[in-house]
């Protein structure tokens, strides 16, 4: 019985108004919250993630999406929304420098060893329930990245978790371009048997390919330069190549390289390749053995965006240690901690706390690893990741100490808009459930013809399918909540 109904429900909910009348297709989605002229948060412990450090009994004044002032006993402009945060803590909105949590379909363009021409901005999934759930954990910005199947992957995009906005409106417009590179077991296809293995199958092969691609990009740039100006009139222009254009942008510093990698040897090799072509690696991601070449990374100017503690899941993760963040930090590498996982991204504050546990990083410095440092690595340090005047009003009000396992985000603000409010979430649950039941009833009605009442079904409280049932898979796929 149920498969059919489920399927109908799936389609009905996905298609929304067509089948389900006046009901919005995003039952759990919200319209964009309003942006008040002024918001004043009072008496909080403020973690600035900036030089000012942690400020007790401090007020934050937000004006139209921007932090206007931080200080004691600020005066509330007329009409301000005032929040008493006595006993609570405020931090910048958390930033995940490595996410795939809101992308439609394939994260990996697996085919070629270089897919520099593809762009994640084309597949931002604004309806993914991950967005809401991560925001409920204090996340406000994520770096949506291409996968790690290729040595040179696709271009990434940085978005704010503006739940309810269109994909284009989630994208941070002045974020610099970034591109994904990958080293090690993934690009060399170690952990599966590809039907048609492609070159390279080794780490030195990966290094060689990257070098050769940049030689090609330089030739490409030269051909275009030679064609420019006076010569352009008489000759056939060189063929346009989107892959080469992206690589030229890297050479010119317009696209930053964020490279997945685990082992120290490969970081060193990629840095030397980049140096030989005159550019720098912006950040290594996961960078599990970064602690082994931290000095070299610091000299090169590469940041590190690491897992807090994952290890032993692959051979190249054998030497991963939870002290990695602390060791690199001690050696002056700018460190962020990332999730690479939609569930983990709901508690990045606790990922940062692990840098205190393992290696004794100071608490404020640890918090920077999921705020200011991540913002800097994404080229957005001028407006995100810190609480100070002039920055975007992206912040979290925590029920307690932000690195405590016992704390929860009470509110998450983005652009001075209240996107997540735990109180409201709790209040709305009944209404959301009622709406869901109403939708199910409508679907049943349409399926059963004249609203035939199936008592047994109506009393069956067990119509919530398990996520692996085919209908549910489709449902989640369509709704993007996977």
């Amino acid at each position: 019985m149920k498969m059919t109904k489920l399927f109908v429900l799936t389609v009905a909910v996905a298609m929304g108004p067509g089948l389900a009348g006046a009901h919005d297709i995003e039952a759990w989605n919200s319209p964009q919250p309003e942006q008040p002229d002024h918001v004043l948060i009072r008496n909080a412990t403020v973690w600035t993630a900036d030089e000012a450090g942690i400020l007790e009994n401090t007020d934050i004044l937000i004006r139209r999406g921007e932090i206007r002032r931080i200080g004691e006993d600020l005066r509330a402009p007329r009409g301000s929304i005032e929040i008493d945060a006595e006993g609570r803590h405020v931090t910048p909105g958390l930033i995940d420098a490595h996410s795939h949590a809101a992308m439609l379909g394939g994260v990996n363009e697996m085919s070629l060893i270089s897919t520099a021409m593809v762009e994640a901005r084309d597949i931002v999934d604004a309806d993914s329930i991950n967005i809401y759930r991560q925001m409920a954990g204090g996340l406000t910005t994520m770096h949506l990245m291409h996968g790690s199947a290729n040595a040179i992957g696709g271009q990434n995009v940085t978005v704010k978790l503006r739940w309810g906005a269109d994909p284009a409106d989630m994208i941070i417009d002045d974020a610099p371009g970034t591109i994904k590179f990958a080293l090690g077991e993934n690009p060399k296809q170690s952990n599966w048997q590809p039907d048609n293995p492609r070159y390279p199958q080794t780490r030195h092969g990966v290094a060689q390919v990257v070098d050769e691609k940049f030689q090609m990009a330089r030739d490409y740039a030269e051909r275009h330069e030679a064609h420019a100006g006076r010569n352009a009139r008489d000759r056939v222009p060189p063929r346009r190549d989107l892959e080469m254009e992206a690589l030229v942008d890297i050479l010119q510093g317009d696209i930053d390289v964020h490279s997945h990698g685990y082992r120290a040897d490969e970081f060193l090799a990629l840095m030397r390749t980049a140096e030989s072509h005159g550019f720098r690696i912006k950040a290594f991601h996961h960078v599990l053995e970064g602690y082994k070449v931290a000095d070299e990374m610091a000299e090169h100017g590469a940041g590190a965006s690491t897992f807090s503690d994952w290890w032993a899941f692959k051979y190249e993760a054998r030497d991963a240690i939870p002290y990695n963040a602390a060791l690199m930090h001690e050696r002056s590498v700018q460190v962020s901690i990332n999730s690479d996982n939609p569930e983990l991204a709901r508690r990045m504050n606790l990922e940062a706390a692990k840098a205190v546990r393992y290696g004794g990083v100071g608490e404020h410095e640890a918090l920077k690893m999921v705020t200011a440092n991540a913002a800097d690595q994404l080229g957005l340090g001028h407006r995100l990741g810190r609480l100070k005047e002039g920055m975007d009003a992206d912040l979290v009000i925590w029920s307690g100490h932000p690195l405590s396992v016992y704390s929860r985000p009470d509110q998450t603000w983005i652009d001075g808009r209240l996107y997540f409010d735990r109180e409201r979430d709790l209040e709305m649950r009944e209404a959301w459930e009622a709406e869901r039941q109403e939708l199910i009833a409508l679907v049943r009605e349409s399926e059963n013809g004249e609203g035939e009442n199936d008592d047994e079904e109506a009393d069956d409280n067990d119509d919530q399918p398990d996520e692996n049932e085919p209908g549910m898979q489709l449902f989640r796929q369509l709704m993007g909540g996977a």
Partner: protein
């Protein structure tokens, strides 16, 4: 039944711990878990067992004293379902002994494949995880699990109890279909095991010839006799109910229900039936798109409110084995969302001890129990707390065996490139 010579029958290897010494650990805040915290307490350990605990303990003259001022003492964490010891590197097949092929693996014994020198052990001990329930993962009837100490010179020495339970992965497809093929196979095997058991009894009574040896039936015999509990592994609410219904039909009385946050929907049924549960993860996404964001976070609180005894784990996959020590963070998250902090602590200490049949030996700091404990800089569930020392059966574990710490120390000491390092 008199014929109880089956070698697998509940071998409790509870040899007396070996550390022959009397030590008074003083100055620390002791969290016995079974009772209120004791500030500036004394933990008196004799020959590897706890002799006395309290704020006012008579310390015998021959006792050595260890000052642990400023630290917090906790009973060792217990992981209620893991593949620690059966896995090394997740992606390297040669290091994987978690999952036997085939559907019926009743005769599999987890403990015999535990690699006592696994590099995953020491980092977990360094995180306070001192006891693990090692569970095989292959097929529908998966075999028997073992409780192991994380320290020992071979698996035999490490094994505290085996078999702890027979593990049955209840087929999801049977949730709504009593005639499900997979469930029918399980039922047939159990029926055959019963027949075999009767035939064995008939033989021992001299009434019939001896039936052929059968490892699988022999392993199932104590399960069907109610001597070895069944751990029922499930996914969602529906198959959880179906699994309990099935266990009732089968007359299986000693049950532990293992599953995800949907366990909360069975809280009253579990409480009524006095069925303990293993909650496979608090750090999991809500299973369904429409569920509240904290659906998994609140599962612990819901179970506790109903009065269910439960253990919190990380799901126990090969991926999580290296950080099995971090079940404390999952328990802490449950506490952030309504679970009493004392109960959260019990969910990774005393309750798993009871669920795996070691409630008299481990899980709390009480006189008579094993002196298996750790010292930390603060609240054991807080992420920022550091575990500093650990003892198993009274013997201090050498934390420098932790390869992660070794790498940390080694690279921390790397000379700086500019010569000042």
């Amino acid at each position: 039944m008199l014929r109880t010579t089956v070698p697998l029958l509940l071998v409790l290897l509870l040899a007396a711990p070996v550390q022959a010494e009397t030590v008074a650990y003083v100055g620390a805040t002791i969290h016995p878990v079974s009772g209120e915290a004791i500030e500036d307490g004394v933990l008196l350990v004799r020959d590897g067992r706890i002799e006395a605990i309290g704020s006012d303990v008579d310390v015998p003259g021959e006792a050595r004293t260890e000052d642990l001022s400023g630290l917090h003492l906790y009973p060792g964490l217990i992981h209620a379902g893991t593949v620690l010891g059966l896995t090394e590197i997740g992606s390297v097949a040669g290091t994987q002994d978690t999952t036997e092929m085939g559907q019926i693996n009743a005769a599999i014994r987890a403990e015999v494949a535990v690699n006592h020198d696994s590099m995953l052990f020491a980092p977990n001990v360094a995180g306070g995880l001192l006891t693990a329930h090692v569970v095989p993962q292959g097929g529908m009837i998966r075999g028997t699990s073992a409780a192991i100490s994380l320290s020992g010179w071979n698996w035999e020495e490490m094994t505290l109890a085996a078999p702890v339970g027979m593990h049955v992965a209840f087929p999801r497809s049977a949730a709504e279909n009593d005639d499900d093929d997979d469930l029918r196979l399980i039922n047939e095997v159990l029926d055959q095991a019963r027949s075999w058991s009767r035939a064995m009894t008939a033989w021992s009574d001299g009434a019939a010839p001896r039936p052929a040896h059968n490892d699988q039936f022999a392993a199932l015999e104590p399960v069907l006799e109610g001597e070895v509990p069944v751990f029922l592994h499930t996914h969602g609410e529906r198959d959880m109910h179906a699994a309990l219904d099935w266990a009732e039909r089968q007359g299986l009385e000693e049950i532990v229900l293992v599953g995800g946050p949907d366990l909360q929907h069975l809280a009253s049924r579990l409480a009524q039936g006095d069925i303990p549960a293993i909650l496979n993860g608090v750090h999991t996404m809500p299973a369904r798109g429409w569920e509240p964001y904290d659906a998994a976070y609140v599962a612990g609180a819901k179970l506790a409110e109903a009065g269910v005894r439960f253990a919190i784990t990380d799901g126990g996959s090969a991926f999580t084995a290296g950080n099995a020590r971090h079940i404390t963070f999952q328990a802490g998250m449950a506490a952030a969302f309504g679970l009493d902090r004392e109960a959260a602590l019990k969910s990774v200490t005393l309750w798993p001890a009871e669920i795996i049949g070691l409630g008299d030996e481990l899980g709390s700091l009480e006189a008579g129990k094993r002196a298996t404990f750790f010292a930390a800089t603060g609240d054991a569930l807080e992420v920022t707390t550091q575990v500093q020392r650990a003892w198993i059966d009274g013997e201090e574990y050498d934390l420098s065996r932790d390869r992660q710490r070794q790498l940390y120390e080694r690279y921390r000491g790397r000379p700086g490139r500019d010569g000042d390092g």
